[in-house]
Amino acid sequence: MPFTAHDLRYQPEQSYPLLYAYLHRNAQRYLGSFKYDAFEVDTVIGHVIEQLVRLGLFAGGDHTPPTALDRLTDAQFYTFLSRCIRNKAIDRLRKRRLQVSTVAELEAFEGDEQENDPLDAASESLWGSSPFSTPEDITIHLASQQALRNILKHCIMLLKAAPQQLQAVIQEMQEMGADELLSTMLEELRIQYPPSQNPHISQHKDHAHKKLRLCLQQQSSNLTVMVALRLTLYTNQHATDTRQYTVDIQTLAQDDLSEHDVRAGLHELVTEGLLDWHGEEVVSITAPQMKHLVRFYKEE
């Protein structure tokens, strides 16, 4: 093999010509009648090279952490590169085909074997069989998975600090018919249903959406919700005081969170007033706190 993913990461200057040669060969293979169009070939190659740089693989050295791409076998990595080239070539061919107007031009397209005519082999959408192939697929998944929905609830509840924005979101959810989540939150917030309509609500909506996006995309939000739910799952009633629940941090960590992560999540819950904890190894929760956590995070 002339180069590996490891070479691209640690010896980019030496391996770039080899990478270029490999991608060039594949680009020509998949570009059919445009295989001698230097601009098209370079556009396809440039796309893949940019991806490799952006992903931190090409020239990443020890500065960017290795990913699943670094763990592919050499053969798998070559296939990965080849497939990237193929997909971009199809993309370019489709764009160029839009400019083709006559049957004669269509027939002029070369394709002596199927892999040299990738448009014929490609499905209507390149990504049709992928999970989450559209933003709609993603939002349906986010809305229907309880753990993911809990993060949404958590972030909406943080809007309490800005009542106008919270009201804007509630009003919007009402209008869209997202009643189930709404009723849970209204119960928690002890807000009358429906809340009073604010005619100037739209100006608060954009701010609320921005805050929500930020909160939902933060790892700390995810940690907080994960730890909150684990508190409801793994705590035991105190041996002598049945109004107290306890759990140690090791138990909360399980096998996929570090103790550091758990502590970070606990700190967030303390900040939000859901917990009294001062860094002890054993977390104690009162019955009202537990009731609150269960009601909010352990539905269904």
Binding site: T43, G46, E50, R54, N87
Partner: protein
Amino acid sequence: MNDHEQFEGKTPIGGAANPRAGDTYTSGKYAALARWLQQALGEAPSTTATPLASEGEAQLELLLGSDYHLHFYQQLPDFVMALLSNDSRATLHYAPLLYHLASCRECHQGYLELYDAMGAAVHLQKVRPVLGQGTRTLAATPQRMLGHLCQVLISQAEAVLRQARHDHTHDDDTARSLLQLAIHIGAHIGQSMIRHQALHSLVRVATLFDGPIPPREPDPAVRTYIPALAGSGGARGHKKIVRRAETGAHPANQEPAVILLQSRTLEGSIYQVGQTLELHLHDLDEQLRGHYVTISVPLGSLLEPVRWLGGNPRAIRSSVPVDSSGQLVTPLGQTELQLTNPEDHNLLEVIFMLLEVRPA
């Protein structure tokens, strides 16, 4: 199914750890919430989308701007691999990324491309690499592709610095190594116009190491010199300057040992005397005559082939004052690089992409 199982994802709601397009989620009691969520997560269309470049265009467009979401984009391979491995905790573990993908067109497109390509790699049936028979050296690699790589590396360095600033972290080493690589690759571009275009953002990005700088009025006392490009030769004295030969077309031993500089109508040059790089400036302003000047080479600290006079390339004090005719000849530093060597010449020319002269 209890709550624990639901949360831990052993049997996800809907019965799929790895939902496919068009499965049963698209209808049901969460559809309204999903519609609202899509509305709430939707961001204004990005202005960084790359237009389809026209045929025959010399430069390749970058796919992403330096404001792309580096933090999320670099998580994509591991997320995709978790999905391909049917890891039931994938979406929970990568929840922030998933929320991001719902609102970011560029990252979602990157996800789709990676999913398909990594899927093909993981489900590889037989090994049949099509190995290239083409170029094996940077010198033989098309100049346009070297230029494109330089642009990507510089843009990536900028993205890294922006992300570090956003996260209040320090990632100068990553950005520095990317810029250094861009300079080294750029030195292999023989055509000065392509090299200049490829590296034109270098100075701007390199100054980001200093942190945010408030916009400032141009200082009239500062003279800014940049390398003179091919075809832009002007008159010095009464002789027309002939730009040095392009490295791809002429033998290395014909490389003139000089870097030509220009600042509006003024010209300057950098010669090499032994290992010493010497700056020659002409027709400097009346106010500078009889005074020492401070010379700044902003890119001088990115690479270390030059031992700068005084140690700081941003504050090199001239060894003599400007003479009465406005001429200055002063050493800048020492180097083992040779201006007569095409690659060394290009490397030094990149370092001198910007040279500022101000009163000391």
